[in-house]
Amino acid sequence: MRFLLDDEQREFARSLDAMLTAADAPAVARAWAAGDTAPGRALWSRLAEAGVFALAVPERHEGLGPLPLELAVAFSELGRHAVPGPVVETVAAAALLDRLGDDASAALLPQIASGKTVVTLCVPAAGSPYALDADAADAVLVVEGDTVRLAETAGPVQPSADPARRLARPLGGTVLARGPAVATAAAHAAEVAALATAAQSLGLGRALLDRTVEYVRQRTQFGVAIGSFQSVKHRLADTLIALEFARPLLHSAALALAEGADHRSAEVAAAKVTAGEAAYAAARTALQLHGAVGYTEELDLALWIRKARPLRDAWGTPAACRARVLAPAPAAQQPRTRAASRGAEA
């Protein structure tokens, strides 16, 4: 057992972090929220060059994957930098299209890997009738029962409490795939989406914590840094605890997904609810400890605070995830070890 990221994975995270810092991702997110998607598309290409989308596309379709652990590493960084756009939906769409297994579906995969095509995906059975950023996507996929539809138009945009997220019910279009394979493929895609969202939440929580620590170290009241007060320290300590214990759940879920283990659904659900709740709690703490200025859109902090709640609920609400954690595991497959079987039961 070596339950640690290897040097290559750490270096991948570091290089994405450096790239996104240099690209001023918060400015890109603000532009995206204001309806200017050009900087977002430019950043999308940079992410594709770094291999982010290829991680969800198999080699036979010009990708590098599927590599769920590397996806988790990458999406932590995307969350940390508040990268806008249907990033989760694009990698989930890749998982869906690959599983559908037909030529028409596979045709989009190289385009996803290269970053040429931005895809969004709507799976109402996985919780939400809305597609994220459909108006900015090149392809909009909707799963309905045993069909996958390539929507013709995005549909009217419905604003989200996070202005960087735009929701829509896509309209019309053509059937891309039909049959019993669709439900299985969609369930798999939803698991990939939940994993990537959990990773985003974890990175987002860490960004909120880091910025708040920085703030309370320099903000002075009553003649001292407010970070020296116990009530402030303890909230931040709890934030760190919640994030640190979410991380191993995320990594374990990625491993389970990579192996196709029978307990993967419970593992992904555990990671999703834990990371989502940790990030939302981090947002509450960041807001409270910044005080009034945290409640404005003037600080970039707002980009993370308002994203925390939607990410917590997207691709599996906490209640849905908790139910899945306790759902009996499929009995057909035998786990390799007793430890794995515990995971399955849990």
């Binding site: 116990q230 931040l236 640190e244 306790l326 849990a346």
Partner: protein, 389 residues
């Protein structure tokens, strides 16, 4: 990155499981916080030790198996999954032994460790004093130099297991004239039946004498029972304090086993439409899994040459809160039967949930309160400035 066990580790797990299946008593032992239970648990330590299962991570020469941290985690998972008794030697094994391995002499290790491993000598800690709890360095009990050793005077309290234990270890002020309170302290060991020692058992919340006050009146301790250099006691004690807060005091196996029992209880008794209770059961299961995975990550880091320092404070807060939430959920599932304790004819699980709940309530207090742990996390892991406590 992987979570796979080697063939040898699987074999180790199988060996532990087979031994536990053959030896764990069918009926739980009486509470170890009673005289009768303490004696029964001491005998159980002997049974464990006879087949080298009492201290698997120690070197073989002292009664262990030289097991890696990962193997120790595996053993603990099997131990608690088997429903094996609580460990009456816990304080010695998780606090004193690591200190002896790091700061003791060969003579001390050879003299003290084998009888700790066998349960022949049960150790209690003597840290807190009536006026020194979280602010431990303010302690006032003294060690005065005398020919061939030291004379201890003062009062210690909240000494877990001291009502029935054999020996104790703790910090004493050997130099009253130092500029800072954590200087001039010495780490000493002494017998609880020595001349000048008075042990007054204290009933814990449920009345069981789980800890005691110690009154020390010119208790002689020979030089051979000082650990590390005189005056260096704070450094000696703190270098292994993380052991208590971290993994070794409360291994993940305890919580994975308890979460499995909680899940069984929920499946047997709960109304499936009660999603509020279901969510709490799920959170306990998730928490136990997170703690286990966090421990695997820590073990991997140590195996790769890293170390764990202030991170152990993350553990302490996490497991102590998990333990309470888990037991509260169990009591809610049990409804009117939840309060039935050991000895009650109708008590579910022989009163284990009620006893476990009482025990869990102390978790955020002992081994450094969670308030102190959060200070440590904020200052050492997040870099926030020190301030008034």
């Amino acid at each position: 990155m992987d979570l796979d066990f080697s063939t040898a580790e699987d074999a180790f797990r199988a060996e532990a499981r087979a031994w536990l299946t053959a030896h764990v008593p069918d009926t739980p032992l009486p509470s170890l916080e009673t005289e009768e239970g303490f004696a029964a648990h001491r005998l159980w330590e002997r049974t464990l030790s006879d087949d080298r299962w009492s201290v698997v991570s120690w070197p073989e020469e002292y009664g262990g198996r030289g097991a890696s941290i990962l193997r120790w985690l595996i053993f603990e998972e099997e131990y608690y999954a088997a429903g094996a008794p609580g460990r009456v030697s816990q304080n010695g094994i998780s606090l004193l032994a690591p200190t002896l391995f790091e700061h003791g002499t060969d003579e001390q290790r050879a003299r003290i460790l084998p009888s700790m491993a066998s349960g022949e000598v049960i150790w209690a800690q003597a840290w807190s004093e009536p006026e020194s709890g979280s602010d431990l360095a303010s302690l006032r009990s003294t060690a005065e130099r005398t020919e061939g050793g030291w004379l201890l005077r003062g009062q210690k309290t909240w000494s877990s297991r001291a009502a029935f234990a054999d020996r104790a270890f703790g910090l004493f002020r050997s130099d009253p004239d130092t500029p800072k309170p954590h200087q001039g302290l010495t780490y000493l060991m002494f017998p609880l039946d020595a001349d000048g020692v008075t042990v007054r058992p204290i009933g814990r919340l449920d009345g069981k004498p789980a800890f005691a006050e110690l009154f020390l009146d010119d208790v002689f301790v020979p030089d051979e029972d000082v650990i590390g250099a005189p005056g260096q006691g704070w450094r000696v004690a703190m270098s292994t304090a993380g052991n208590e807060r971290g993994l070794t005091l409360r291994s993940p196996g305890r919580f994975t086993a308890a979460a499995e029992r909680l899940t069984d209880l929920w499946r047997e008794t709960a109304d499936p439409s009660d999603t509020a209770l279901r969510d709490r059961v799920a959170d306990a299961v998730i928490g136990a899994r997170a703690y286990r995975l966090f421990a695997y990550a820590g073990a991997s880091r140590i195996a790769a040459g890293g170390s764990i320092g202030a991170e152990s404070s993350l553990n302490k807060v996490f497991w102590s809160e998990l333990d309470i939430a888990l037991h509260e959920t169990a009591l809610d599932l049990l409804g009117p039967y939840g309060e039935l304790s050991d000895g009650a004819a109708d008590a579910p699980a022989h009163g284990g949930w009620a006893e476990g709940h009482t025990f869990s309530l102390a978790g955020p207090i002992y081994a450094g309160t969670n308030e102190i742990q959060r200070d440590i996390i904020a200052e050492r892991l997040l870099g926030l400035p020190k301030g008034r406590r």
